[in-house]
Amino acid sequence: MIATELDTLAGDLRAMARIRAFEERVARYFREGQIPGFVHVSIGQEAIAAGVCGVLTEDDKITTTHRGHGHCLAKGADAGAMMAELFGRATGTCRGRGGSMHIADPRIGILGANGIVAAGLPLAVGAGLAALRQGTGAVAVAFAGEGTVHSGAFHEAIALAVLWRAPVIFVIENNRFSEFTDSDALWRGAPLIERAKAYGLTSAERIDGNDVIAVRASAAAAAAACRAGEGPVLIEAMTYRIHGHYEGDAVGYRDAEEFAAAQQRDPLLRSAATLEAADRAGDAQAALDDAATEMDAAVAFGLDAPYPDPATVLEDIYA
């Protein structure tokens, strides 16, 4: 690898390390009862968020799912404001109205996590349509889990994106599980990317979602195609959900051997190893250290932040 490639990889590792550090703290503070509600973390899936968002600009839009912290961080959301949001504080990205499952920052193109499976896909198609009509050259990315693909909204979103030739990248993170179910047990027929091609998507590829270099390459090609008016495209990124569906899930349904093997494919370890092999172990270590520092500060910011004033509860309902 040439130096600029290594620089990019080091940057992506930084992004991944930030997500990992964020999620680890989320899991911990949830366990300790300081984060209310329920949380779904993306540990093990960081390469997808980092690689895809790494090719986006602030004008590009993303929509995501209940498992959306990583995408938001990678797209540029402030970790402190995100942590404050999860703690339900007034200085959170959504002023405490959204929480983990609805985390968003529309000002920088993060149209939000969504509690309704598949609901983010049509939203992204619309955002892509807006970019097309307004000629901004922006793209829209819909992040979704593989559990999404049976839903009507997935089908309708793809049909519309294809019909409108909207600059949309559908990123399906296949992390093996849909809640407590082995997603393969619900699958029949041809692989997703074959189905996707049958819809008329310009391109549909299955990639190793734990290899950030592959993710970035695929996303860069996808974004370029979209910006050139050749969208939409689909990427199925294969990965593995390292934690339970939500924190607190006892994961009794998980195969121990498969899990052990999946842990070996950790995207951070892998990138770090590549850097180390190229004599850039220092970059790797700095990524992890800086992430820890940043996220400790984010937690402190969040925990210090005031709760929203109940008197403001009826604000922002109508425009």
């Binding site: 149209l111 969504n114 425009a319």
Partner: protein, 328 residues
Amino acid sequence: MPSATARPRKYIHAVRETLAEEMEADADVVVIGIDVAAGSVYGATKGLAERFGPERVMDTPIAEAGVVGAAVGAAMAGLRPVVEVMYMDFISVCLDPIVNQAAKLRYMTGGGVRIPLVIRTQTGGGRSSGAQHSQSLEGMLAHVPGLKVFLPSDPRDVADLLRAAIRDDGPVVFVENRRLYNSPTPDGPWETLPPGRARIVAPGDDVTVIAWGRMVGDALAACQDERLAGVGVEVIDLRTLVPLDLETLLASVRRTGRALVVHEAVEGFGPGAEIAMRLTEELLYEIEGPIRRLGALQAPIPYSPPLEEAVLPGPASIAGAVRALLDD
């Protein structure tokens, strides 16, 4: 009053011409829906495709959940979509983007986003359209914080409220009534009222009838019923369910002491209950009898004309209900 063009002749022209005017005024306004380029089934969008092209008047497949969802996303990203849901009954296939997305995302993002979206739809029983093409479901929508619900009965209000809806930075459900599409614009002054302001369409001192959509005309017709000869019936066109103009209603009922809320929607757990209850809460010691509601009977709307007539309110049953109020 319509800004540029002539006064629309009919209810349906008011839809069409207001859409055209707003599209003319703002390039971000786009019209999206099944067969909208051909004018859709009642012709409400006729001519727009020829004038504004397929990029702004977009036909869609039958995929309402995806379409409305995309419209929400487009609104969040800077367009001002006016999306058509062909029959109000079909909100059943696209309720999620309306109720869980459009209505809530501004709030859920702490005010971080605007969603300038209009969902145009239409209803109208009484023409044997059957149980799945005849429902008035405004009560379901009015119950959802974040949605505005407009239901014009008059071509002038169609123009004014549709314009307001398009210019609103939040989601508005705009409910037309297909049985009014051919109704002419009345002569007389064009008094523009904002959303959230009801209109007194007939003054009277004995009893207040509150209605919207097609029921406004039926209420006016009921006034001619011989059972109401000599009775001063004040008929109020509510125009918008959300926001709700309680003030105008209160002032009227305070004066008349009696009120009937009439709607095409099923009576039970329907929108009239809220209105009647709000009035009752305020005026318990001033009214001269219970405020009552008259809605459709608790049945799916049947196809056969005599059955459908038995289910829906109309001038005769309104007059009967008003008479009963007075005799209470």
